[in-house]
Subunit: 336 residues, 2 copies
DNA sequence: GAACCCGAGTGGAACGTTCCACCACCGGAC
DNA sequence: GTCCGGTGGTGGAACGTTCCACTCGGGTTC
C-alpha cells in the first residue's frame, strides 16, 4: 500500500523532482515534451500529491474546517451546503468535524481540526465556552455562525433572534392570544436572545404578568417533555412559542398524544423554518433564517480574511433579518 | 499568527526537541522535573502539536475519513453517530467530507480526504462509480456502507434491501392489496435491490401482472413528483412502496395536496425508518435499518484492518436484517 | 566575438515532527 | 579501580513536498 511519491514519478519520467512539482502545479515554464512525460509517468503510477507534505512546507492546507454542534439538526445541513459552495468558489476545500450536542465531543472536534492545521474555522451553533473559542481564534481565523457574540477576535453571522422572537409574540397577540408561554433552551446558543425577544414582546403588549416559561432545549425530546410539563399547569396557555422547530415538533407530538388540537386548543410556533416544518401535516408557524445565505456569508468573511483582503483588521458581526412564516399551527385562541 | 513549534518549547524549557517530543507523547522515560518544565513551557506558549508534520513522518494520520453522499438525509446523521463513537473508541478521529447527492462533489470530497492521507475511508451511500471507489480502495482501507457491492478490495455493511422490500409487499398483500406500485430510485445505491425485492415479492404472490413502477429518487422532490405521475394513471394503485422515507414523505405531500386519504384511499410505505417517520402526524409504515449499529460495525471492520488484526486478508461483506415497522400509513384497501 | 539575457531545468534547504543510534552519568559488583 | 547495566537525555536523518538560487545553452545585441 505504499503510495508513490514525487520522486518515483521523477525517476520514471527521467526528470528532477522539481520539474514534476512544477508540472503538477500546472506551471507554464515547462516544455510540452517533458510535461507529457511527467503526466504519463504520474498516471501510470497512480500518483496523487501528498497534501500532508505540501501543507507542511507551504504552511497552509487549503482547507476550511467546520465544527458542527449537532449533525442531527437539519438546520445545519443547509448551512453546510452554503459553506461548501462558497469554499469551493474561493479555491478552498471544506472538511467537517461532527459533535453531537456534547461540549466534550465538540472540544475534540475543534482540536482535531486545529491540529490538522486547517486555514480557517467555522463553528456552527457552538456550545463550548467562549474562552475556548477565543483561544482557537487566536491561532486561526474564525467565524462563528448562529451563536451571538461580540468578541473582537472573530467574525460572526447570525440572525436577529430578539427581533424574530418579538415578531412571534406580535403575531400571536394580533390573533388575540394573551396567555402566551415560552419553552426556552437555557444557555444554548441564541436561546437567551429568543427568550429576551419573547419577554420584551410580552411587555410591549402589556402582558408582562403573563410571561411564563419552562426550560426545554433544542432537541425533540426536550420539546416533548417541556410541553408535558406545561399541560399540567393550572392555567394552560393558549399559545406556546418554542425555542426551535425541532423542539416545537416534539411539543406537537406531546399535544397530539394528549388530544389537544392545534391550533384549535393551542397555537404553537417554532424557530428555524426547517424543511419538515413546511409539510402539510406539520404546517408549523415559524421564523425563517436564510440558512444557506448565512453559510455563504460566513465563508466569504473567512476567505476575505484568509486572502488578506480586509483593509482594516476589524471583526465583522453580521446580523441577518429573520422572517415570520405563518402556517397552520397558529390560529385564534379558544373561545372559553 | 505563527504558531509555536516543538523547538520553541524546547528552547524555553532548556531541553532538546526530542525530550519535548517524548513528554508530549506521554513517555515514561522522563524525569518528573523535566516533564514539568516542558509542560509549563508548552502551556505558556500555547503549544499544540502539528498533526501535519506528525502524519508526514509517521506515515499515518490517526484520522478516519467519511464521505457522505447526502448531508440532508437524516439517515446519515445516525450512521455518523455510530462511526464517530467507534472511531474514538478505537483511538482514531473522524473527519467528514460532505457531498450533496452530486457525483462531482462526491469525487472532490473523496479526493480531499485521500490527499489528506486519512488512514481509512468510509463511504456512505456513495453515488460515484465503482471504478473510482476501487481505485481509492487500492491505496487506503475502505468500507462501503449502504451500497451493495461484492468488490474484493473493500469491506461493506448494508441491510438486506431485497428482503426488506419483500417484507413490505408481504405486509401489503396480507392487508388485501393487489394493485401495489413502486416508486424506485433508479441507479442510486440500494435502489436496484429494493426494486428487485418488490418485483420478486409481487411474483411470489402471483401478482406479476400488477407490477408497476415509476422512477422517483431518494429526495423529497422526486417522491412528490413521482406520486403526481401515479395519481394521473388510469388505474391508480391502492398501495405504493416508495424507495425511501424521504421520498415517501414527498409522496404523502402530493397525496395530501390532492386530497387523497392515507391509508383510507391509498397505503404508503417507505424505507429507512427516519426519526420523522415516527411522528404521530406522519406515522409512516417503513422498514427499519439498524443505522447506528451499521455505523459501528463499519468502523470496527475498518479499524480491524488498520490495526492489522485481520488474520486472513479476505473482505467482509456484512448484511444486517431489516425490520418492518407498521404504522398508520397502511391499512385495508378501499372498498370499491 | 564578447556580453548579455532568457527559458528550461536542477539540487538542496526548509517545513515540524518521530525515531534511532548514541552518549553521559551513576551506583553496584568484583 | 575497572567494568557493567540502566536511566535520562541528545543530535541528526527521514518523511514528501515547495521554493529559491543556481546552471546550462542558445540566441540577440552591440
Amino acid at each position: 500500500m505504499r503510495q508513490p511519491t514525487i520522486i518515483d514519478v521523477a525517476r520514471r519520467a527521467g526528470v528532477s523532482k522539481s520539474l514534476v512539482s512544477l508540472v503538477m502545479r500546472g506551471s507554464e515554464r515547462v516544455s510540452e515534451e517533458r510535461r507529457a512525460a511527467v503526466l504519463d509517468a504520474a498516471a501510470e503510477l497512480g500518483y496523487r500529491p501528498n497534501a500532508v507534505a505540501r501543507s507542511l512546507v507551504e504552511r497552509r492546507s487549503g482547507v476550511i474546517g467546520i465544527v458542527l454542534s449537532d449533525l442531527h439538526n437539519p438546520f445545519f445541513a443547509d448551512l453546510i451546503d452554503g459553506v461548501e459552495e462558497g469554499a469551493v468558489r474561493g479555491g478552498y476545500r471544506a472538511v467537517l468535524a461532527p459533535a453531537f450536542l456534547d461540549a466534550g465531543r465538540e472540544s475534540t472536534a475543534l482540536d482535531t481540526l486545529l491540529q490538522m492545521r486547517v486555514d480557517g474555522l467555522i463553528m456552527a451553533g457552538a456550545t463550548v465556552s467562549l474562552a475556548e473559542i477565543e483561544q482557537a481564534a487566536k491561532r486561526v481565523p474564525m467565524v462563528l455562525v448562529a451563536r451571538p457574540t461580540r468578541s473582537a477576535l472573530m467574525d460572526s453571522v447570525r440572525n436577529d433572534d430578539v427581533a424574530g422572537a418579538g415578531g412571534v409574540v406580535d403575531h400571536l397577540v394580533e390573533l388575540g392570544h394573551e396567555r402566551i408561554a415560552h419553552i426556552h433552551a437555557g444557555t444554548a446558543p441564541g436561546a437567551r436572545e429568543r427568550r429576551q425577544g419573547y419577554e420584551d414582546g410580552m411587555r410591549r403588549h402589556g402582558l408582562h404578568d403573563q410571561i411564563a416559561s419552562v426550560r426545554g432545549g433544542y432537541t425533540h425530546a426536550e420539546g416533548l417533555e417541556a410541553m408535558g410539563t406545561m399541560l399540567a399547569w393550572q392555567a394552560v396557555p393558549t399559545a406556546v412559542f418554542v425555542a426551535n422547530d425541532t423542539a416545537a415538533i416534539g411539543a406537537l407530538e406531546a399535544l397530539d398524544a394528549a388530544g389537544v388540537l392545534v391550533p384549535g386548543d393551542m397555537s404553537v410556533v417554532g424557530y428555524d423554518n426547517l424543511p419538515i416544518s413546511g409539510l402539510h401535516r406539520i404546517a408549523l408557524t415559524t421564523v425563517d433564517q436564510p440558512t444557506d445565505q448565512m453559510g455563504r456569508e460566513a465563508v466569504e468573511l473567512l476567505i476575505e480574511r484568509l486572502d488578506g483582503e480586509r483593509r482594516d483588521g476589524r471583526p465583522r458581526h453580521l446580523v441577518v433579518p429573520p422572517r415570520l412564516v405563518v402556517r397552520n399551527s397558529t390560529g385564534l385562541p379558544p373561545k372559553s
